[in-house]
């Protein structure tokens, strides 16, 4: 007789006071001061609790967290290649399904979480992520977005905003804005075309209670969920390390980042400001945009204005692409 697979039912928290005090992402790692992704790890770990298995595709949160054979994770954690976080998680989830069914593992299905950077999610890791979503594995894919390949020295990724100076998109005489492309829309990639997915959300380290609840809600679904988390990177974006939360909040106030939920086809928006500030206010606080002219800021503003009409939904890019200019 097959044994029923029992899955998570994690409670929502109403305030910071209800967030568990217990740490599962413990001190001793080597992330930078003010690291947004490290804060993501701490909050996601609080959301899951100990009955979890985390997968860490190569990236900052692999290299800076697990140096010298040490790791700060109090739950089972496994490195994956930057390419295959979604696939390794699929294998682990499939294994737990069959082991529980056959009575070889006794207990609730662990929360299986992939903690992938932007490259490991929507660039080199896109195929494995998409297929995990498509096949319907009961696992959560977290994209911690620091908008670059930061671990290797801040190279451009598909999540890097237009105009950013990265070590692969340096501004120069022929390319004054540095980064010429607009970013891929990660949640839209998941929402569009994965019938097994019921829950996709975006959240920010600036709003930890919201972040924890979205992670828990995703985990509670008996199937794959995707959570896209904004994680400012002082070293890559070039702002003072004490301003991580300030930068994250300003991203929301300027519309550079929007917190929303897509649940069974319905969008709900969170933390929407009464009035959006100009994107220049956000960009001028980061040295990666320091080289831009007013024309470049206007181009970014046009893109953001168009996107804010319906965040999370497809838009026609209102500015010229690199081959059209």
């Amino acid at each position: 007789m097959a044994i029923e697979v029992k899955t998570q039912n994690l409670e929502m928290v109403k305030s910071l006071r209800q967030v568990p005090q217990e740490e599962h992402y413990v001190p001793g790692h080597r992330t930078c001061q003010g690291c947004g992704p490290a804060l993501v790890y701490k909050l996601v770990s609080k959301a899951t609790g100990g009955n979890a298995i985390f997968l860490g595709p190569t990236g900052c949160m692999y290299v800076a967290n697990t140096s010298y054979l040490c790791a700060p994770f109090a739950y089972p954690w496994m490195h994956t290649q930057i390419t295959n976080g979604g696939a390794v998680a699929s294998g682990i989830e499939a294994a737990y399904q069959v082991l529980i069914r056959k009575g070889k593992y006794k207990g609730e299905l662990p929360s299986i979480v992939v903690m992938a950077g932007d490259g490991g999610s929507i660039d080199i890791g896109l195929q494995a992520m998409s297929s995990m979503m498509y096949r319907g594995h009961d696992a959560l894919f977290v994209m911690y977005d620091n908008e670059s390949y930061a671990n290797t020295g801040i190279q451009v990724s598909p999540a890097t905003p237009y105009g950013a100076n990265t070590t692969f998109t340096p501004p120069g005489k022929n390319v004054p804005e540095g980064r010429v492309l607009f970013p891929k829309d990660a949640p839209q990639l998941v929402i569009g075309g994965h019938p097994a997915v019921h829950y996709v959300a975006t959240a920010s380290v600036a709003y930890p209670v919201d972040l924890i609840n979205k992670v828990r809600k995703g985990l509670n679904y008996k199937g794959p969920s995707f959570v896209h988390l904004h994680a400012p990177c002082p070293k890559g974006w070039l702002f003072p390390a004490q301003k991580t939360i300030e930068v994250a909040k300003l991203a929301i106030q300027t519309g550079m980042w929007v917190n929303y939920t897509w649940e069974n086809g319905e969008y709900t928006y969170d933390h929407t400001p009464k009035e959006y500030k100009p994107v220049k206010e956000y960009m001028k606080g980061q040295y990666r945009f320091n080289h831009l002219s007013d024309a470049h800021y206007a181009k970014m503003q046009a893109f953001i204005d168009a996107r804010l009409k319906a965040p999370g939904k497809p838009i026609a890019i209102p500015v010229l692409g690199p081959r059209e200019q």
Partner: protein
């Protein structure tokens, strides 16, 4: 009850996996190995095998799914052919370094270009240094047997390594042969359930694969090397037990045919060995003292067993069935290893590469006779070329006159 069946190598692999009670299977289509997954998907759909059948989106994902499942504590099975095998290349070292004993069935296939369905061993031979166990079967029976034996070898706590369980595409994978399938209970007695020492389990958390710094690397490499030191003893045990349990006659590493009084030998792995034995029968009638030494494991390369076998003869022709462009013999990858295995012998034989069985071409009896002529000449003259591309070189073509 054991039963006699008439199965292709693909079906033999699938039923070997079923009798090994694999728990997670990851698939992706590519000829010729596809038949294995077609068979397994039916067994799962019919409820004859309780396993998760995961549709990988490519071979890279297939291997990732399999080693992930293995890390979680499930017996995992996957497979591929040709370009699919090399597409997954990134994932082989993590699986071996993680000591995750999943199994990958290989029905080998020539690489592109050009598109070629034929058998050639180059695909998975390219992965021979990634830390996986690797060996070729020569018949559906041996495919079935190896599938079961490899799991016990790989999952042994002295070993803990993944396995490439290989068969020649088409020549073995698609030609049915008479074989015996064993009683499930007897297979269960031979192969205990997978019991990994450190699964990913929230009740006993471990961290798996943290980053290291260069001075910590060699200590980890040496652990894998030690596993390969211990593995020959494990293989001998497992093959002996299997022979005893099921009445087979495998020698663990090198399967010999008429080697004891031979002057020349064909050294070969996989299905072409069967043609080689027919050729030897004919050659013997003509007074040529030829023998066959068939390699059952490429990794670990059985250095001592190979040296002991090849030292019986004066000249050895390695039928490569794989390429190593620009390699030391300008032939394939097996002759250099055979030569190195014999290096410390007082009377080492002449060893040369015969480039045959490439791109799916049959190695014909006539080709074996031509090789025998080259080897007999080498015995007389005391020398031979490093390699001969069969049917393209004067020395070989002259033998047809």
């Amino acid at each position: 009850m054991a039963k006699e069946v008439f199965y292709s190598g693909c079906a033999a692999a699938a039923y070997g996996a079923k009798d090994a009670r694999v728990e997670v299977i990851s698939s992706y289509p590519i000829r010729p190995y596809t038949g294995i997954m077609m068979e397994l998907s039916k067994l799962v759909a019919n409820g004859e095998l309780d396993a998760e059948f995961v549709l990988g989106e490519g071979e890279h994902a297939q291997v990732s799914i399999a080693y992930g499942a293995s890390a979680a504590g499930a017996r995992a099975y996957t497979g591929s052919s040709g370009v699919g095998v090399v597409y997954a290349m990134e994932c082989y070292s993590p699986a071996a370094g993680g000591r995750l004993p999943c199994q990958m069935a290989i029905a080998d296939r020539a690489l592109d270009p050009p598109g070629d369905f034929g058998s050639e061993h180059t695909d998975v031979m390219s992965a021979r240094d990634q830390g996986w166990i690797m060996g070729w079967a020569e018949s559906p029976q041996e495919v079935y047997d190896n599938t079961i034996m490899y799991y016990r070898i790989g999952e042994d706590h002295r070993v803990q390594l993944p396995q490439f369980c290989c068969q020649d595409g088409y020549f073995v994978s698609h030609i049915p042969g008479k074989m015996q399938m064993e009683d499930q209970k007897a297979v269960d007695d031979f192969l205990p359930p997978y019991n990994p020492p450190h699964p990913l389990n929230p009740k006993k958390p471990i961290n798996h694969g943290p980053q290291i710094f260069p001075d910590q690397g060699s200590a980890i490499n040496v652990q894998r090397a030690v596993a390969f030191d211990d593995i020959e003893a494990v293989i001998s045990e497992v093959v002996t037990d299997y022979n005893k349990a099921f009445g087979r006659k495998y020698s663990p590493f090198v399967d010999e045919y008429m080697m004891d009084d031979a002057d020349i030998a064909f050294f070969i792995q996989g299905g072409h060995a069967r043609t080689a034995r027919y050729a030897v029968n004919h050659l013997r009638k003509k007074g040529v003292k030829a023998g066959v030494s068939r390699l059952r494991f490429m990794r670990p390369f059985p250095t001592e067993a190979v040296a002991a076998s090849l030292s019986k003869v004066k000249a050895v022709g390695v039928i490569e069935t794989n390429t190593s462009y620009g390699g030391v013999t300008r032939g394939g990858n097996i002759a250099p290893e055979a030569r190195a295995a014999c290096y410390n012998l007082d009377n080492r034989p002449i060893i040369t590469s015969f480039m045959a069985g490439l791109g799916g071409e049959i190695v014909t009896l006539n080709e074996f006779y031509a090789m025998a002529k080259v080897l007999s000449d080498a015995v007389k003259s005391g020398k031979a070329n490093n390699s001969y591309w069969m049917n393209f070189e004067k020395e070989v073509l002259d033998t047809h006159k």
